[in-house]
């Protein structure tokens, strides 16, 4: 019972990382695809301004999820870490390069250095979610053995895992474009709104097609999971599809209100659908489940306490951060140029 609760917490953490951190990765993707220096100036500046105050906080979900995973389910955690060491190392490298590239670019004044740091940020924004996707894809296809002690290349290079990697990239781009569209609309930036609307539509279609393709290959790779996805998780799958279609329709008709929430709901439904379909198995194709992955009951209890404390402390803080960000109260400091403008 307690193990199920902690499993739910982990899944919620993954969904939040997907919805918040994923959008940050997507921002990097659109930065990458924004074209030449002159043409990409406006969208890049807008992406940068939108991501800047929030990316570090969004990124913490990754660490939070890792900690919950290794504390509550250490046997499954180490099997994943052993078997999928290569894509995980590549994802880590991506996380490092992305964060430092982004932070460094802000401080660069020379165009060539901005280009180098910006390219590091943008390329790693593309690679990181791809490798993370292959990891999830490998787990879902049952390619991770419960007692894995060595890295396996084939585990994460099967068609489903690779499609999952591509799907992650597309989903990140989709979320980012939807958020940026609605952010541009809020601030009356007509051109940027149209710019990101087109990209959100394209990403929605690509993500939708990739989901269907991944589902189709999963039918062979892991028939049991496929059966559950189209069985007890069917409602969530339909919800995910409906959200995607709704966002597409709303974007086409130019109605922006609420699309951010609907897009996030769609991605959350996919994550929960995966969890529901797999429950209570942690590593498909192995006997490793939520309850026998190496932690005693007291650990689950302590994690639930930590989670409740986290919700009480972090929830209101996040609301404050996002509220200030929406009102554009958090901006780069130009203090010196304006002379002494010390607040207070």
């Amino acid at each position: 019972m307690m193990a199920d609760v902690v499993g739910g917490i982990l899944l919620a953490g993954i969904a939040l990382y997907a919805v918040l951190g994923g959008a940050d990765f997507g921002g990097g993707l659109w930065d990458l695809l924004a074209g030449t220096t002159r043409r990409g100036l406006a969208p890049r500046a807008f992406i940068d301004e939108t991501i800047t105050p929030v990316w570090e906080a969004n990124h913490v979900w990754l660490v939070f999820d890792l900690v919950i995973f290794w504390t509550a389910f250490p046997h499954a955690f180490t099997a994943v870490m052993n078997a999928l060491a290569l894509p995980l190392w590549l994802a880590v490298a991506g996380v490092v390069l992305r964060g430092s590239g982004f932070a460094f670019r802000k401080e660069m004044t020379r165009l060539d250095l901005q280009r180098v740091t910006g390219a590091v940020f943008a390329f790693s924004s593309l690679l990181t979610p791809f490798f993370m996707g292959t990891v999830i894809g490998a787990i879902a296809t049952g390619a991770v053995r419960g007692d894995a002690s060595h890295a396996s290349l084939s585990a994460w290079t099967n068609p489903t895992a690779l499609l999952a990697g591509l799907l992650f990239v597309a989903a990140c781009g989709y979320l980012a474009a939807v958020y940026l569209t609605s952010e541009a609309a809020r601030h009356g930036q007509r051109q940027l709104q149209e710019y990101f609307t087109r990209r959100a539509q394209a990403a929605a279609i690509v993500a939708g097609l990739l989901s269907l393709a991944a589902l189709a290959t999963l039918h062979n790779a892991n028939p049991a999971l496929f059966a559950h996805l189209t069985g007890r998780a069917l409602a969530l799958m339909i919800l995910a599809g409906a959200c995607g279609l709704a966002v597409l329709a709303l974007l086409t008709s130019g109605r922006i209100k609420g699309i951010r929430v609907i897009a996030a709901l769609g991605v959350t439904a996919v994550v929960w659908g995966w969890g529901v379909a797999q429950y209570p198995v942690l590593l498909p194709g192995t006997p490793v489940t939520l309850t026998n992955a190496g932690a005693p009951n007291a650990t689950y209890g302590a994690l639930v306490v930590v989670f409740v404390a986290a919700v009480l402390l972090i929830g209101p803080s996040f609301v404050l951060l996002f509220t200030l960000q929406h009102r554009r109260l958090l901006q780069a400091d130009h203090g010196d140029a304006e002379g002494p403008s010390a607040p207070g």
Partner: protein, 471 residues
Amino acid sequence: MSLGSSVVLLAARQVSGDVVPARAQMATTLGFHIILASLGIALPSVVLLAEFIGLRRHDETAMLLARRWSQGMGVLLAVGAVTGTVLSFEMGLLWPGLMRRYGAVLGLPFGVEGVFFFLEAIFAGIYLWGWRRLPGWAHFWSGVPIALSGILGAMSVIAVNSWMNQPGGFTQRGGTITSVNPWQVYFNHAALYQMPHMILAAYMVTGFVVAGVYAAGVLRGRRDRYHYAGFALGFVPAAILTPFQIFVGDTAARAIAHDQPVKFASMEYVPRTSRHVAEWLGGVYANGRVYAGLKIPDMDSLLVGFAPGTKVTGWDSVAPADRPPAVWLLHLCFDVMVGLGFLLLLAGLWAAWAWWRRRRLPRHRLFWLAGAVSGVAAIVAMECGWVVTEVGRQPWVVYRLQTTAQAATTNGGVLTSLTLIIVMYAVIGTATILILRMLARRWRAGAGLETAVPYGPPPALPGERASQVEP
């Protein structure tokens, strides 16, 4: 950064097999991150101190320093956040044996740390980017949670490390954890001295690093209120904390003599359990004797038990395989840490004396030279202390329960990831330092704090060309 890795590579040479590159990689990444973590823990407090003075006394110099430090803090927090994430992954990628067996225990303090990491990142987003639009005191208070969560987060991470030194708060049967007492895991016996020791170290590193930057400026002839204020805001808190740190360190050493006698014996060159043990200052232990060290008879016994006849456990109390490698390394690192601690104390006393007699900082060039290197000295002292803690625990990863070799990954290819990570961290470390220097140059040139947009036209910098020639 490379200090830690090369030192541990040397120390690890005696340990066989796959574990060596894994330890070297952990040492490189942790030795790098520990500097950024220290700045992440304590820099917010220093910035807030400057902002407090700026708001309270309407002091525009302090306010300007706070705003500028904020910008540097943005870069340092970002690099600290990502290098910390690397360590999270490495717990599993390099030490699956440790996590498989003890993840359910040592993960709990990490969970608590996650909460404070969140608070730090969220309020950093508000504080760093709220300078323009948030009103004075509201902005100040938005920074307080960063400082608090830095301390509480550090406590949680040190809880894990101290638990590895003094594991407790759980029961296991047949290799499976059967029950956990989170409170005893978090506040294990070693936590009581490791937590204050490391948090004080973080504050000293930060304070002296900040002071060092402005002392270097003063030495170059920039003798203005701005540089003296920047120096004092870092130096004064760090110097005040130094005597407390020496007291905590002394207490910790005595506790280690009791908790981990073999680690202590290696730190102090105690081969055989005996009374009237001498203290060695410096010196290299080889072939059963100490070369080039200064011997103080009975001093070690006196320090351990306040009496020259106190019995001190030697490393002969355990089998050779259970002793840490390279006792000379442990001893010299310990001596360097203690020696630098006392030198920093002297610098603080000098400043205190000048202030008491003449109400100003010392004028002597030697004082400013000491101030300029105090930051590096504090970092070296901290890295040395960390080597003592980590290498001194070897061959154990969890003291007397699991060896480092048992914990290490069985995957090959760690040498590859080690090489790549050294290259990546060298680039990032260099870039971070260059960017901080570039910011300082831009500030001196009197330009804005920030370029307008990425890929935007570079703003005209009147002093840029000249200062590039002579940085």
